[in-house]
Amino acid sequence: MNTYLYLARRVLQALAVILIVTVATFCLLHALPGGPARGILGPQATPEQIAQFNHAQHLDQPLPVQYGAYLGRLLHGDLGSSYTLNEPVSQLIVQRLPKTLVLTVLSALVGLLLAVPLGMWQAVRRNKPVDYVITTLSFVAYSTPVYFLGLILVLVFSHILPWFPAQAPQGDSLAQVFADPAGLVLPVVAGAASVVAVFSRYMRAATLENLSEDYVRTARAGGSRRGAILRRHVFRNSLTPVVAMLGYYVPVLFGGALVVEQLFNYPGMGLLFWSAAQSSDYPVLLGCVLVIAVATVVGTLLADIVQRIIDPRVKEGRA
């Protein structure tokens, strides 16, 4: 299929996904009993002030009208204004998202750099002790709740052995964040653990599958050595399915960031969402979910494109 047509179709699908996400989130939020006013204005607010708030935020209108208005504003790039944080949501996200991206992208990169060779190594040493050990470790890494893992990391590597700070870098700008690389170590490790666990399993499975493919036999019949086959053929072939998975991993990474950010006092988007959820700050919640949905959709799209680059078949496969 033609690349442009394909892209156009993917973008349409993406829009559909995002629309579904907004409808679902909007409904979910407005199903919250009580509405946000009293919670935001606090126990001492008077009924008049609450009515005033609801009117100012259009919360006194019927739900479909509110949603329509929301969509309308969305089309103009307006995500609304936070109830509590005294700023437009778009501005909040612009401030917070880069920090979260640093965290998630670094975690993903570090995780993948470890996971890919580990997975391949396991596949080659299938059912040998190394395989069992790595498998067990990746199960453990996967099974440990991030908040527990983070705590252990802080306890061991910051408290008992004072190697790394227990706080992520505190600066506002990315330059300040990168100025404190030691501060990034523990949060990135906490975020990367599950990436390593999951993707080493994928890589192992994909490599095993590829090792039993006919083309490996062909290459061997041509006199190629095992190492060369792994490097030249199996590696790339195994990577394609793993790349396809990456897009779908975006929301998981954000989910992890939610916990990591608050453990390491790193005000990114996960934390923004966390506090918005505590205070029923609808516009912020909607904005964050929207951003994550877009990130996921873009992630899957990028994964597809990368796949089209490393796997020329994909172009044709989707007729």
Binding site: Y6, Y215, A219, G222, E316, G317
Partner: protein, 645 residues
């Protein structure tokens, strides 16, 4: 290669010498002694064919010879390759041998190449494994090899990915890899089974030429006796892991001594060929579609009582024709089927009209991807035609209600290609057979149902006790008979069989076809029989429809059309079928090659084999279902293998 040359080759030192080779697979179900005490040898310039039915151990011998047995195999005995004993050698020594002293061509061209590496690079890799060439030199050499194996425009093609090539071209690339370093022994394990007959003939020609040029010895593994007759100097017959007979090809194929060889040969369907003297009839006559009436010699056809007029493909709707279609059990009229939309659309069928009359067997033949299965699926109502009409038992499937359509369908029996895939392994044989009863005879008591199942099992000549077994406890032929039983349990008026035996061995195939024929005589159902095996169709069908690229190329009574084809296409198809008689086959090959040389200037690729991705391009299996995946990634197109003549 002349006979004289061949005899000198026979005395040279063997390049492959197997001595008491044994191979044991350790599997979860216990050890499998796949190969026992095999001794054979191949001399330079000689082709040894290894034949035998599926599972007899042919591939295992071949893999043992190159040291590529899977990890769970243990080899014993000796397998000398030049000066090295493969059984004892280490992986490094073997890697040094492979690709230079010995190389191998595998069966499945679709998967034998790394999908992500350009073919030029893959060939160059083999070259550089053994020769100290620079990357550029190796690339140049790769292009040269591609030229040698007859890939058009090799310079450009070298940078193509495997998926961009047709199956035949891919197999040529694999061959190029195999001959890259002029090996002394070439092992070919069913190198053409997955290909169309026409392509198969070309590949065999190529292999033969290459072997002759360099004096390479060839170990050819196949179960196709036609290929053996076409290619081999000597033949070794395997049965259950052992070699039962070895000898020159003429001896084995024409004067077999071992019982098993005899049985095997007897089961091979033979394509009746026109004698050389007989002139092909003018094609204009064939197009008129009237000639069949004159072929009084076709006893079976006359017996069927059908009017000799085949429905002509033109299809002007005269009243006579509609009367005719009313009586036909299934009738496709000007059917077009397009898959996909826009520029990527595939016209699987293009203005196809065909009908099957009561009691008649119509064979549907053609190259892979020509639309045979699609036509059958249209007839079954599984695919909605884009245009045109389909009438089943006189009713237009589109017009009738859901309920009526379902009851119409109760008159149809279906047998599909793969005996493994066509039965649900989770059900017992009895349940499988009874399923149509459960669909259409809801009120039938379970006792009646059981009785009916037992009855039908008798008919397909399976023991009644099989009803309690599960399909996986049966052999392939038995499973296909269960499929047949399921198809017949409702006393259908029409049986649609899409390559029902292409996954089976010749001997098993014969038995299954036998049963169908007998039942048809008994029950009188009409049959639409899809196959790409011309010999089978010739033996089985009264009328044949030849398809090409979604269109009907010609149709007519089998004996007429297949003996004296009216179109070049059919003639080429027929000529490409190897017959299991070395003498006849040698002559046919010579004729075919002469004709082909005339037909096109030297150096160009054979027709139907150039161009971009063939229709059988495997939908590159992309793991993970991205949102863009169409729901229907048809993997069934690779089923083009089968037993040819």
């Amino acid at each position: 290669m002349t006979a004289a040359e061949r005899s000198t080759a026979a005395v040279a030192d063997p390049i492959l010498d197997l001595d008491d080779l044994g191979v044991v697979f350790s599997s979860e179900t216990g050890d499998v002694h796949a190969v026992r005490g095999v001794s054979l040898h191949v001399r330079p310039g000689e082709t040894l064919a290894l034949v035998g039915e599926s599972g007899s151990g042919k591939s295992t011998v071949a893999l043992a010879a190159i040291g590529l047995l899977p990890g769970n195999a243990r080899a014993t005995g000796r397998a000398r390759l030049g000066a090295t004993d493969v059984v004892a050698a280490g992986e490094n020594d073997l890697a040094r041998l492979r690709g230079r002293t010995v190389s191998m061509v595998f069966q499945e061209p679709a998967t034998a190449l790394d999908p992500l590496t350009r073919i030029g690079d893959q060939i160059a890799e083999v070259i550089r494994n053994h020769r100290p060439l620079s990357a550029r030199e190796a690339a140049q050499a790769a292009i040269e090899l591609l030229r040698r194996v007859g890939i058009p425009d090799p310079g450009r093609r070298a940078s193509a990915f495997p998926f961009e090539l047709s199956g035949g071209q891919r197999q040529r690339v694999v061959i190029a890899m195999a001959i890259a370093n002029d090996p002394t022994l070439l092992i070919a394990d069913e190198p053409t089974t997955a290909l169309d007959v026409t392509v198969q003939a070309e590949i065999l020609d190529l292999l033969r030429g290459l072997a002759a040029e360099t004096g390479t010895g060839v170990l050819l593994v196949t179960h196709n006796m036609g290929v053996v007759a076409d290619f081999a100097d000597r033949v070794a017959v395997m049965l259950q892991g052992e070699i039962v007979e070895t000898g020159p090809v003429e001896d084995i194929l024409l004067r077999p001594s071992h019982d098993y060889t005899k049985r095997l040969l007897a089961a091979v369907p033979r394509l009746a060929v026109a004698e050389p003297g007989e002139a092909p009839r003018p094609s204009a006559e064939a197009d008129a579609g009237t000639e069949s009436a004159t072929s009084g010699a076709l006893a079976k056809f006359a017996e069927a009582g059908g009017s000799a007029e085949s429905a002509d493909s033109g299809g002007s709707a005269t009243s006579g024709q509609s009367a005719e279609s009313a009586e036909s059990v299934v009738d496709l009229r000007a059917v077009t089927v397009a898959f996909g939309r826009g520029r990527g659309a595939v016209r699987a069928l293009d203005d196809v009209s065909l009908s099957v009359r009561p009691g008649e067997t119509v064979g549907l033949v053609g190259e892979s991807g020509s639309g045979k299965s699609t036509a059958a699926r249209v007839a079954l109502g599984l695919v909605r035609p884009t245009s045109g009409t389909v009438t089943l038992f006189g009713s237009d499937l589109r017009r009738v209600s859901v309920r009526a359509r379902r009851s119409l369908r109760s008159g149809v029996g279906v047998v599909l290609q793969d005996p493994v895939a066509s039965l649900d392994a989770r059900m017992s044989v009895g349940e499988c057979i009874a399923e149509p009863l459960r669909v259409h005879r809801r009120r039938m008591s379970s006792k009646e149902r059981q009785a009916r199942v037992a009855d039908i099992l008798d008919r397909v000549r399976l023991p009644r006790g099989f009803a309690r077994r599960t399909p996986r406890e049966l052999s392939g032929g038995q499973r296909q008979r269960v499929s047949l039983a399921r198809a017949l349990v409702l006393d259908p008026r029409l049986l649609v069989a899409d390559e029902p035996t292409s996954a089976l061995d010749v001997s098993v195939q014969e038995a299954v076809l036998q049963v169908i024929t007998e039942l048809q005589d008994d029950l009188g159902f009409a049959c639409l029989f899809v196959s790409h095996d011309l010999a089978v169709v010739q033996n089985f069908a009264e009328r044949v429809v030849v398809m090409r690229a979604g269109r009907i190329e010609e149709q007519g009574a089998t004996e007429v059309t297949l003996l004296h084809p009216g179109t070049d296409y059919t003639r080429r198809l027929l000529a490409a079928v190897p017959v299991p008689d070395p003498v006849v086959q040698r002559r046919r090959r010579a004729e075919r090659q002469a004709e082909a040389a005339q037909a096109r200037p030297p150096g160009t690729a054979p027709a139907g084999n150039d161009g971009g991705p063939g229709p059988e391009t495997p939908g590159g299996t992309v793991p993970g279902d991205g949102p863009g995946d169409g729901p229907d990634r048809d993997g069934s197109n690779t089923g083009g293998s089968g037993v040819n003549a």
